[in-house]
């Protein structure tokens, strides 16, 4: 074994012992049992992304692992009945709550929750005859409750996908239906026709160019900026929620978004000038026109009642 590997094993052993001492209920687990799990955690979350990880960083990372949650999961994996009892007693509400959020009815939620417990326990058997449950994938980095919610969510998505149903909110589906109907002209939301077909075509091309430029600019943004754009605009989250996903306060997210507006505008205009041969003023004006056009469409698409005949006549 190389010197580095030996050093790593030593650090791992010490970190395991500290973890066991931190745990309020270690459930008779020893370092020999826990070390393989911690080793895989280090390789997955630490060593993979940072080759020059120091011993201090490894030690600090191991000290952040949730000792009690990990010991509970490992004890359940080893078939400890008392641990299973504690797991179900403590996390039954969490699993059921997550199942309700992901299900349309109480019955479906109960069934989903039961499926999750079965998945956790393991329906398949390992080579040694023990059940192969999903608890083996819990690392202890996050809380056991959060992991269980994630498992419930993914199981629900999996079921929906298998039943060939799209998972989306009702508002989004209705909104998109309106958009599709509007674009295909099947609905009654008629807007005033463009006075000039050429002008309409030019506008459509401009909007297309803008969308392409926006796509390019957004893809070129940094991961954090791109994620903020996606969370706020694509997923429809509020700034407070988007900031929480990023791990920042709402005010920070707002400032970042304001900065991004300026940055995206500058880069979109630069692309339009470079690729379309427009002047800066033309690019700016195109952005303004496109924005105004989108606002008009949006306000009409969000109308609750279809336009009456008189209203449609007035719109013309």
């Amino acid at each position: 074994m190389s010197r580095q590997a030996t050093e790593f094993e030593e650090i791992l052993r010490e970190g395991t012992l500290r973890l066991i001492s931190r745990a309020v209920e270690a459930r008779s687990l020893d370092a020999v049992t826990l070390a393989p799990r911690l080793r895989s955690i280090c390789e997955k979350y630490l060593l993979r992304d940072h080759a020059g990880t120091t011993a201090q960083e490894i030690g600090d990372f191991l000290d952040t692992v949730r000792a009690d949650d990990l010991c509970l999961a490992v004890a359940c994996e080893r078939g400890d009945d008392a641990a299973w009892h504690d797991l179900m007693e403590q996390y039954r509400p969490t699993v059921l709550s997550a199942a309700r959020n992901a299900s349309a009815s109480e019955d479906a939620a109960e069934e989903l929750a039961q499926s999750v417990w079965a998945e956790l326990y393991g329906l398949r058997a390992r080579a040694d005859g023990r059940a192969a449950g999903k608890l083996a994938y819990y690392s202890g980095c996050g809380s056991l409750g959060g992991w269980l919610r994630a498992v419930v969510g993914q199981l629900a998505v999996d079921r929906h996908r298998k039943s060939a149903r799209l998972v989306q909110t009702e508002e989004a589906s209705e909104f998109d239906r309106l958009v599709q109907a509007h674009e295909s002209g099947e609905d009654n939301f008629n807007v005033a026709p463009a006075p000039d077909p050429e002008h309409a075509l030019a506008r459509r091309e401009t909007i297309e160019a803008l969308h392409n430029a926006l796509t390019q600019v957004i893809n070129e943004l940094g991961a954090e900026d791109r994620l903020l754009i996606k969370l706020y605009y694509f997923d429809g989250l509020r700034l407070r929620e988007a900031g929480a996903v990023l791990g920042v306060h709402e005010a920070t997210a707002s400032r970042r978004l304001t900065r991004l507006h300026t940055e995206v505008r500058t880069r979109v205009e630069a692309i339009l000038v470079a690729e379309r041969g427009w002047t800066k003023q033309e690019a700016t004006r195109s952005l303004a026109d496109a924005a105004a056009h989108m606002e008009t469409d949006l306000s009409q698409l969000l109308a609750v009642e279809p336009l009456t005949i008189e209203q449609r006549e007035e719109a013309r």
Binding site: G145, G146, R149, V157, R161, L166, D176, T215, D235
Partner: protein, 464 residues
């Protein structure tokens, strides 16, 4: 915040997002029709190539990842709608937004304090401020120095008077002069030849006698003593000496070892005496005895004054506290008397407030004298309340009725025999619970402390 937004860009990005979402959903629909299960199978296994697994999602949502790993996951989330929605659900369920708001609510007050304090300090030392600060500081300094000088002068006059009386005894103490200054001080305290020798022999001629002299002064009366009394005091000094730790690390040597004493003499006075720096390492030098005695007397008087002042302050403080308490009691009695007079025609009902007030005053006075009184008082109040109102403390929050029981708020629907889930505030379980049941968290927050709530047929004990 909203006013700073570029409204045009905001509209453009919203329109762009709508368009992109449509495209994504069309693609998803096509995938579903093609019955592509490759992504679904990968979603629940560990180490998925395309999606984050449950462990990675939950670790990201709880910000429990090293920075490089979190950056990698962030990059994936920016491009993967499914994982992004999953992590959003987890983040919102774990209450991260609330934690960030709490941290932000605490942080600004700390940030604001330091610059304001620094600014004030900078302003204080600014050239302009010095115009006003310097004279004030100078005046204060002059005043303090004058006060100390006057005080020292006053005391020295008193010491010199006593020292003049005791000069007769100094020749006798010359025999023990090598033992140190403290011997002479002790001699003068005794005020006779024989007593000085006795004192010296009892105490010893060492460094710590300066402290012992102070001790003697603090405990002994200031008036000159008769021989018998002096011997008794000497004995007590011996006992005090034994009790009190010596400032010197070594124990006082016996009187016979005068050489050792003289060798040890220099260090102690400097270590123990703050009020008379003149008594110092030069103890082996020949000094004028009256001066040395006067200095020693100053020191002992200063300490005596200090002790007396502290005793007086303690007495005043306790007197003020008792007076305040008495005043409060008098006020209450006055109020109850007034209430009684106002309802004089009510007869027995009018007597009740007065009786109750007197009972309370009596109870308070008793409780102040008894140990553990503070712990007893809340229970007394509760019992009084029970006795007077005949009801247990109850509260109704969000349609749930709670009563106070043993320091905890207990749901009226709670049955002690039913299974109870114990959750500690601030724990992961608690956060999970209130994320799932926010109303339960609001009830727990409204009541505070230990709470037993029956929620959807289950009993939860929320501990602080």
């Amino acid at each position: 915040m909203k006013s700073d937004f570029d409204q045009e860009m905001d509209s453009l990005l919203r329109g762009h997002a709508r368009r992109a979402r449509r495209a994504f959903e069309e693609a998803a629909e096509l995938r579903a029709r093609a019955d592509d299960t490759s992504q679904s199978a990968a979603s629940l296994s560990g180490g998925s190539m395309t999606h984050l697994d449950a462990d990675e999602l939950s670790a990201y949502a709880e910000n429990a990842l090293p920075a490089p790993t979190r950056a990698r996951f962030m990059s994936h989330l920016a491009d993967c709608d499914e994982c992004r929605r999953s992590v959003t659900r987890l983040v919102l369920a774990s209450g991260v937004a609330n934690e960030l708001e709490k941290r932000a609510a605490v942080a600004p007050s700390k940030v604001v304090k330091t610059p304001a304090w620094r600014e004030r300090l900078v302003a204080l030392f600014s050239p302009r401020a010095w115009r006003y600060v310097v004279p004030v500081v100078a005046l204060a300094f002059v005043g303090i120095v004058s006060f100390i000088a006057l005080r020292a002068d006053r005391e020295s006059k008193g010491v010199s008077g006593r020292a003049a009386k005791s000069t007769v005894s100094t020749p006798a103490s010359d025999m023990n002069h090598a033992a140190g200054i403290e011997e002479s001080a002790e001699t003068q305290m005794a005020n006779t030849e024989t007593t000085s020798t006795t004192t010296t022999s009892a105490i010893g001629a060492n460094n710590s006698t300066s402290t012992n002299a102070a001790t003697t002064t603090a405990h002994a009366p200031s008036k000159p003593q008769q021989n018998g009394e002096l011997e008794a005091r000497t004995d007590s000094l011996s006992a005090e000496e034994r009790k009190r730790p010596s400032t010197d690390s070594q124990p006082p040597p016996p009187i016979e070892n005068k050489e050792a004493q003289s060798a040890n003499a220099p260090s102690a006075p400097a270590a123990t005496n703050n009020a008379a720096p003149s008594i110092a390492p030069e103890s082996n030098n020949v000094r004028s005895l009256p001066t040395l005695a006067r200095n020693q007397q100053e020191m002992s008087n200063n300490q005596q004054v200090t002790v007396q002042q502290s005793n007086a302050r303690e007495a005043n403080r306790s007197a003020m506290q008792s007076e305040r308490g008495n005043q409060t009691d008098r006020d209450r009695l006055t109020q109850s008397d007034n209430a009684t007079n106002d309802a004089a025609q009510g007869g027995a009902a009018a007597q009740a407030p007065k009786t109750k007030a007197r009972r309370e005053v009596r109870a308070r006075n008793e409780s102040e004298t008894s140990p553990g009184a503070r712990k007893a008082q809340p229970q007394d109040d509760k019992r009084e309340k029970d006795n007077s109102n005949n009801v247990v403390e109850t509260r109704t929050v969000a349609g749930h009725q709670f009563h106070r029981e043993g320091g905890a708020w207990v749901d009226a629907n709670y049955n002690s025999g039913q299974a109870t889930v114990t959750v500690k505030r601030g724990s992961e379980q608690y956060r999970a619970l209130i994320a799932d049941e926010p109303a339960l968290g609001r009830i727990a927050d409204a009541l505070g402390g230990e709470v037993i709530i029956v929620w959807h047929g289950r009993a939860y004990r929320i501990k602080p």
